[in-house]
């Protein structure tokens, strides 16, 4: 086939392809790309709703401001703390649950459903329920529980208004809520591992731990990378729990990047400043995604 001919065929197909992809592309543009571009543009202005000042280009001034703003820096470090605690703990918990459920014991279906249930509830509902669980005073469930396990040594605390405890309280709830989702994905991954690999490993002299280390983990790598990355992104997006349970308090102990951005735009009308924050957030997510792609590419080589 001659080259021009080939090119024409390619062009024909490109047109059809564009036509077919059109609706999805339009949606993507309208609801994702356009808002992002607008936010990106606004981040370099001084836009503030209701401000008498004229709209003007201010360069990276907004970024300079937010990176010298202690509240925003606090939010950023809270996000990092949250992610670096929740992601490993939640993944380990989910992996443990998945391993237990994968042993094919009776009642597996019941437990799988139970563990997955929190995932189905909307976070707003979960948060409200956990506000009740964390209720201050001895009648609060968490206080009651801790009182029980410490044989009465526990002093009732107000978890959500305690600067030391508010963040861990949010972490606990988030792990409880998210582990089920990870567990289901890891369980699916575990069930893909051929039984024969374990049998071969057993004959090769590998005990339980060696089998886990040399068969399960490498075989589960893809699922683990996916699960860790999705959880990290969700951790950086942390907002619902904060909004409903602590409003960023006490004293900024639980504020997050998204919470700061929402505060900036909806309570102080600082559109440009909020835009700059979302751009930072976007870059963080982008970095994580890039990391995942790198790890996944390595995985493909491993095959």
């Amino acid at each position: 086939m001659s080259a021009p001919n080939a090119r024409r065929r390619l062009n024909d197909q490109t047109a059809v392809g564009l036509l077919l992809a059109g609706p999805a592309m339009l949606g993507l543009f309208l609801f994702i790309l356009a808002p992002f571009l607008v936010a990106l543009a606004l981040a370099f202005t001084n836009l503030r709703l209701g401000s008498p000042l004229p709209l003007e280009f201010v360069g990276v001034k907004q970024f300079e401001r937010i990176f010298t703003d202690p509240d925003f820096l606090r939010a950023l470090s809270n996000n990092l703390l949250f992610a670096s605690t929740v992601v490993p703990l939640q993944t380990a918990l989910a992996l443990g649950l998945a391993l237990l459920l994968n042993r094919g014991l009776r009642g597996t279906v019941v437990f799988r459903t139970l563990f997955f249930m929190p995932v189905v509830f909307p976070m707003s509902l979960v948060a409200v329920v956990w506000v009740l669980i964390y209720a201050p005073g001895p009648e609060g469930m968490m206080n009651g529980f801790l009182d029980l396990v410490t044989l009465g040594a526990w002093e009732p605390r107000d978890f959500l208004r305690d600067p030391m405890l508010a963040m861990p309280a949010l972490m606990l709830l988030s792990i409880w809520q998210g582990a089920g989702f990870q567990m289901v994905i890891l369980l699916a991954g575990l069930q893909q591992i051929p039984e024969e690999l374990y049998e071969a490993a057993a004959l090769d002299g590998a005990g339980r731990w060696s089998q886990f280390r040399h068969v399960t983990l490498p075989q589960l790598r893809n699922s683990l990378v996916f699960v860790v990355l999705v959880t990290s992104i969700l951790a950086f997006r942390l907002f619902d729990q904060v909004q409903i349970m602590t409003r960023g308090g006490p004293d900024g102990a639980t504020t997050t990047v998204i919470y700061e951005a929402v505060q900036a735009v909806f309570t102080r009308q600082q559109v440009a400043r909020a835009s700059a924050m979302t751009v930072v957030f976007f870059l963080l997510v982008l970095a994580l995604t890039w990391l995942q792609r790198r790890l996944a590419r390595q995985e493909r080589e491993i095959g």
Partner: protein
């Protein structure tokens, strides 16, 4: 190196199916025993019980005289080559060979030495840094063998290790395995459903059917003196023909009537199988190997006439599936009277014999080539 023995071993799966029934089998130190039988007869189950991957429901398995029933697979020091190799996909060939050695806790220098030796023996040097995915079927097979060898285990267990390979490669690797086993002298149990592999590979062959051992003997004896009609029909391609016919006395000796042909048994046959004389006047099963049937010479006075059902030419031989006046029965169910068409009488003729369905042929048999079985299929001895 080790000897292995099964004593009254039985296996019933939780769903109640009895898969192995009273298995007694001895495998000598350094021996290559082939376990052969049709699909589903329990060969893999036997191997898996020996490896410790499956519990026993009864009986004992001993390795070097020691009962291993309750020993974990990790502690039995056996190596196994799986049907689809079960290589570790995330490890390179080197990693796969090293894995069992690392699990043993060998030193780095010892591991390197063994990997080098194994790779040289199996011609794997060029592949050491590849992953299993990047290997051909035959190469994967060699890696699986290598992993088993590098271990220096007490015995090799191989479960249909060649069944994923093409016919040519199978023949080649079959020969290599036999040579390797002879060189290493490691006790080996080789499972296959392919009777050609069994005949060519085994020092002894154990034929199994429905969870029961039918016969254990060297290949030639299995072929020459099958203990029952099942073994007779299973070994050989195509399998032995079985014909139901009466045993008559004829002036002092014995003869069988096959259609219009009377064959007088040889003195040798009567001496080898004294049981025959007791059955004078009874119906017995006559076994006829397809390769023992030949075309009658032009002037022959008594010949068996048959018509061709189908003919298959393999080049070096021609297989005729024949309709004959004989009462043919199936080798695996000799007592059942077949519904509809009886099994064809099969003749394997040397060379090329063009023939078409409906052609009439005249056949000749040598009474010295006949096998005799009672109606229940047991060989008459």
């Amino acid at each position: 190196m080790a000897s292995i023995s099964f004593e009254h071993v039985s296996k019933t799966y939780p769903d109640g199916t009895r898969v192995i029934d009273g298995l007694d089998l001895e495998v000598g130190d350094g021996e290559l025993l082939v376990l052969v039988g049709p699909s589903g007869c329990g060969k893999s189950t036997v191997l898996r019980m020996l490896a410790g991957l499956e519990d026993l429901s009864g009986g004992e398995i001993r390795i070097d005289g020691r009962v291993v029933n309750d020993l974990l697979p990790q502690r039995r020091n056996l190596s196994m080559v799986f049907q689809n190799y079960a290589l570790y996909p995330h490890l390179t060939v080197r990693g796969n060979l090293e894995f069992p050695l690392k699990m043993k806790g060998l030193s780095r220098t010892e591991i390197d030495r063994r990997v080098r030796e194994t790779a040289a023996m199996l011609d794997l040097d060029a592949l050491l840094d590849r992953r299993p995915k990047a290997l051909s079927g035959g190469q994967r097979q060699r890696v699986a063998m290598g992993r088993a060898i590098a271990r220096e285990a007490d015995a090799f267990l191989m479960d249909e290790p060649l069944s994923n390979l093409d016919a040519r490669l199978r023949v080649q690797i079959r020969t290599e395995i036999a040579a390797l086993q002879a060189r290493l002298g490691v006790t080996t149990i080789y499972v296959t459903h392919d009777q050609v592999e069994a005949m060519t590979l085994g020092q002894r062959v154990a034929v199994m059917r429905g969870g029961r051992l039918q016969q254990v003997a060297p290949p030639w004896e299995i072929y020459q003196r099958p203990s029952n009609s099942f073994v007779a029909g299973f070994i050989g391609t195509p399998g032995m023909n079985l014909v139901r016919a009466p045993l008559d006395s004829s002036n002092g000796g014995l003869c069988v009537r096959l259609g219009d042909v009377r064959l007088t048994l040889t003195a040798q046959a009567l001496a080898d199988q004294p049981g025959l004389a007791d059955r004078t006047g009874e119906d017995v099963l006559i076994g006829i190997r397809p390769e023992d049937i030949c075309l009658a010479e032009a002037g022959a006075t008594s010949a068996l006439t048959a018509t061709v059902r189908t003919a298959e030419s393999l080049g070096h031989e021609t297989l005729l599936h024949l309709d004959s006046p004989l009462t043919t029965v199936a080798a695996d169910a000799p007592r059942r009277v077949p519904h509809g068409e009886p099994p064809a009488l099969i003749a394997a003729l040397r060379g090329h014999h063009p023939s078409r369905p409906g052609d009439a042929v005249r056949l000749q048999l040598d009474p010295a080539d006949l096998y005799f079985f009672a109606l229940d299929g047991e060989a008459i001895r």
